[in-house]
C-alpha cells in the first residue's frame, strides 16, 4: 500500500522540493546577501506617510473583508498585510502621523493590535498608541459603509489597501480617488486585482504581497526563501516549456506525471 494517498503524490513531491529549495537558499553562503527587485509599492510607503504629515491628515490601512485566519486563501493574505502594517506603523510613528486601521476581522484583532502596539513601543512612543486607532466593524457591507464614511469625513491623505479584498476594492479605491488620496494596493485575490490596479497608484500583485515582509526587512534568510521561490519558478517554467513541446508531439508523460 502506498504511503502517500493516491493522486496526491506529485503534490507532496512538489511541496517537498519547494521546501528544500527554500531551506537550501536560506542556509548556504550565510555571508552573501541576496537582493530583491525593488517594489515601488513598498518604496512608496514613506512617501505616503510623508504626504500625510505634510497635509496634517491621517493614513488609512485596511485589509479588506478577507476571511477568517483559518481560511486557506485569505488567512495568509491577512498575515502578509499585517507584516506591511508593522512597517507602516513605524513610519507613521516616526512622522507623527495618525494611522487608522479599519478591520472587519475579529480573529485578527489581537495580531493587529499587538503589531501596532509593538511598533509604537519600538519607536519609543508606546504612550501614543490608542486602541481606538483600530476600528472593528462586523461583516462586509457595514465595513464598506463605515470605511466610505470615514474617508469623506476624515479625508485621509493616503490609503493602504493590502489584504484579501472582495467587492469593496473598487468602491474603496474610487472613493479614495474622489478625496484625492494617494493609494497603495495589494492582494492575492485575482478577481480584485484589476480594480486595485485601476484605482491605486502602486500595487503589490499576488506573490509580491507575500514577499513584502521579506523585502521590507531585507532579512537574509527571508530573502533566501524568495530566491528559492524564484528557482521553483524556473522549474515550473522548464516543466511547462518541455511539456508544451512534448504535448505538441502528442507525448503526455509530463502531464501524466503531474497528475500523479
Amino acid at each position: 500500500m502506498a504511503i502517500i494517498v493516491e493522486g496526491r503524490l506529485m503534490t507532496f513531491i512538489l511541496m517537498i522540493i519547494f521546501f528544500v529549495l527554500m531551506y537550501y537558499f536560506m542556509s548556504i553562503n550565510k555571508e552573501q546577501q541576496y537582493t530583491i527587485r525593488a517594489m515601488p509599492a513598498l518604496q512608496a510607503i514613506p512617501e505616503a506617510v510623508g504626504r500625510a504629515a505634510e497635509m496634517g491628515r491621517p493614513v488609512l490601512w485596511t485589509p479588506g473583508i478577507s476571511g477568517a485566519l483559518n481560511n486557506s486563501s485569505q488567512g495568509p493574505q491577512i498575515l502578509a498585510a499585517i507584516s506591511i502594517l508593522e512597517y507602516l506603523t513605524e513610519e507613521c510613528v516616526k512622522a507623527g502621523v495618525h494611522l487608522q486601521a479599519i478591520v472587519p476581522l475579529p480573529d485578527a484583532l489581537p495580531l493587529i493590535e499587538e503589531t501596532m502596539r509593538t511598533a509604537y513601543l519600538r519607536e519609543g512612543k508606546p504612550e501614543e498608541f490608542n486602541p481606538d486607532q483600530i476600528t472593528f466593524i462586523s461583516e462586509q457591507s457595514p465595513y464598506l459603509s463605515a470605511t466610505l464614511g470615514y474617508m469623506q469625513r476624515y479625508e485621509p491623505a493616503s490609503n493602504i489597501f493590502v489584504g484579501g479584498f472582495y467587492y469593496e476594492s473598487v468602491v474603496l479605491g474610487e472613493a479614495g480617488n474622489h478625496i484625492g488620496a494617494m493609494q497603495i494596493g495589494g492582494t492575492n485575490n485575482t478577481h480584485q486585482m484589476p480594480f486595485l490596479v485601476a484605482t491605486c497608484d502602486y500595487m503589490l500583485l499576488a506573490e509580491e504581497l507575500f514577499a513584502a515582509g521579506a523585502a521590507i526587512s531585507q532579512n537574509r534568510d527571508m530573502l533566501g526563501s524568495i530566491k528559492g521561490e524564484d528557482f521553483m519558478k524556473v522549474i515550473l517554467v522548464a516543466i511547462t516549456g518541455v511539456g508544451f513541446i512534448l504535448g505538441a508531439l502528442n507525448i503526455t508523460i509530463i502531464a501524466d506525471l503531474l497528475g500523479m
Binding site: H178, C200, D201, L205
Partner: protein, 297 residues
C-alpha cells in the same frame, strides 16, 4: 506622484483645475457623479420600455445544463445546492439557480439546500416562489430539505465532506437530521451525487478543493460574472462540469429550459448600461488623445 509600476490610474476630476482644459480634453475628466446619475436612470428605462436583444448560448452554460438534465442525472440522486449569495446578488445568481432547481427536480433528483449568508432563508423563500410549480409536486423532507445557514468557510466545507450531520445536526426549522427521511443514509461526500454552488464569493473553489479534487464529486458553478474569469478556467480544466456566468448565464439557462424569466428581462438593462460605459470610455479616450496631440491649452 509617479505611477511607474502599475500603471493605469488617472487623476480624478474633482481635484483638477478643469477650467484650464480645452473642451475636448475636459471629456477626459467629467465628474463621476454625472455618469452615476445617467447610469441609474438609464438602467430603469428598459424596464419601462423593453427592447429584446437576441441571446446566444455559451458552451459553459450548455455543459452545465447538459450536466443536470437527461442521462447525466438519475432519479433519486442527491444533490446539494449552495446559496452562496445574499439578497443583493439575487438578480445575478437567482435566475440560474431557479433553472437548475427546476431541471434537477424534473429529473427526479433530491436536493439539499444550504447557504453561508445570514439571509439564506429569504433566498430559500424566493426560490420557493420562483419554482412554485415544481415545489408543489415535491414533498419537504422526502424530495428536498433546507438545512439552512452555515459559517466557517472552507473548514466547514471540508467538514461537510466527512460528516454532514456534524455541521447540520438539524435542518433550518429545527428538525433533527436523523428524523428527516431524505437524509437517511446521506452522511458524507460519498452519498452526494453532485454539487451546484452559486457564489458571490468562492465557495465553488472550496468545494473544488475539498470535494471535487479529493473525491471527484460532480461540481458546477453558478457564479457571478465577476467570478467568470476564475470559474471558466476551472471549467476548462475539468474541475467544474459547467459554469453559468452571471445574469447572462441565467438568461441563457432560461432560454435552454424554455421558460423566460427575470434574467431575460434584465438583459435589456444590461445592454443599455454596457453601451453607456463603452461610450463613456470612448469619450474619455477622445479627451486623452486630444491631450496627447497637444489639444491641452
Amino acid at each position: 506622484m509617479a505611477s511607474g509600476h502599475y500603471w493605469v490610474k488617472s487623476v480624478d476630476s474633482t481635484r483638477e483645475a478643469a477650467s484650464k482644459m480645452s473642451a475636448l480634453s475636459k471629456l477626459a475628466d467629467i465628474d463621476r457623479r454625472v455618469f452615476y446619475w445617467i447610469l441609474f436612470i438609464a438602467l430603469m428605462v428598459p424596464f419601462l420600455n423593453p427592447i429584446g436583444f437576441p441571446i446566444t448560448i455559451a458552451p459553459n452554460t450548455q455543459d452545465l445544463y447538459d450536466g443536470i438534465t437527461g442521462d447525466q442525472v438519475d432519479e433519486g440522486e442527491v444533490w446539494i445546492i449552495n446559496f452562496g449569495y445574499g439578497v443583493s446578488a439575487w438578480s445575478e445568481c437567482h435566475p440560474a439557480v431557479t433553472v437548475c432547481t427546476k431541471a434537477l427536480f424534473r429529473e427526479g433528483a433530491k436536493i439539499i439546500f444550504i447557504g453561508p449568508h445570514y439571509d439564506v432563508e429569504l433566498t430559500y423563500n424566493k426560490l420557493q416562489d420562483t419554482c412554485r410549480e415544481d415545489f408543489a409536486t415535491k414533498e419537504y423532507g422526502v424530495d428536498y430539505v433546507f438545512l439552512g445557514y452555515f459559517t466557517g468557510g472552507e473548514s466547514v466545507v471540508a467538514q461537510l465532506a466527512s460528516d454532514i450531520a456534524s455541521v447540520f445536526p438539524q435542518d433550518h426549522f429545527g428538525t433533527p437530521i436523523g428524523d428527516i427521511p431524505m437524509m437517511d443514509g446521506v452522511e458524507d461526500v460519498h452519498d452526494i451525487d453532485g454539487v451546484l454552488s452559486s457564489d458571490t464569493g468562492d465557495y465553488g473553489g472550496h468545494f473544488m478543493t475539498q470535494w471535487q479534487g479529493p473525491y471527484g464529486t460532480k461540481l458546477a458553478e453558478v457564479g457571478i460574472a465577476m467570478n467568470g474569469s476564475t470559474d471558466l478556467p476551472r471549467w476548462q480544466a475539468g474541475n467544474f462540469f459547467g459554469v453559468s456566468v452571471g445574469s447572462r448565464g441565467g438568461a441563457e439557462l432560461e432560454l435552454l429550459i424554455g421558460e423566460l424569466g427575470e434574467a431575460t428581462t434584465a438583459m435589456d438593462s444590461i445592454s443599455v448600461s454596457h453601451l453607456l460605459l463603452v461610450l463613456a470610455i470612448i469619450i474619455g479616450n477622445l479627451g486623452t488623445i486630444t491631450e496627447k496631440l497637444g489639444g491641452k491649452e
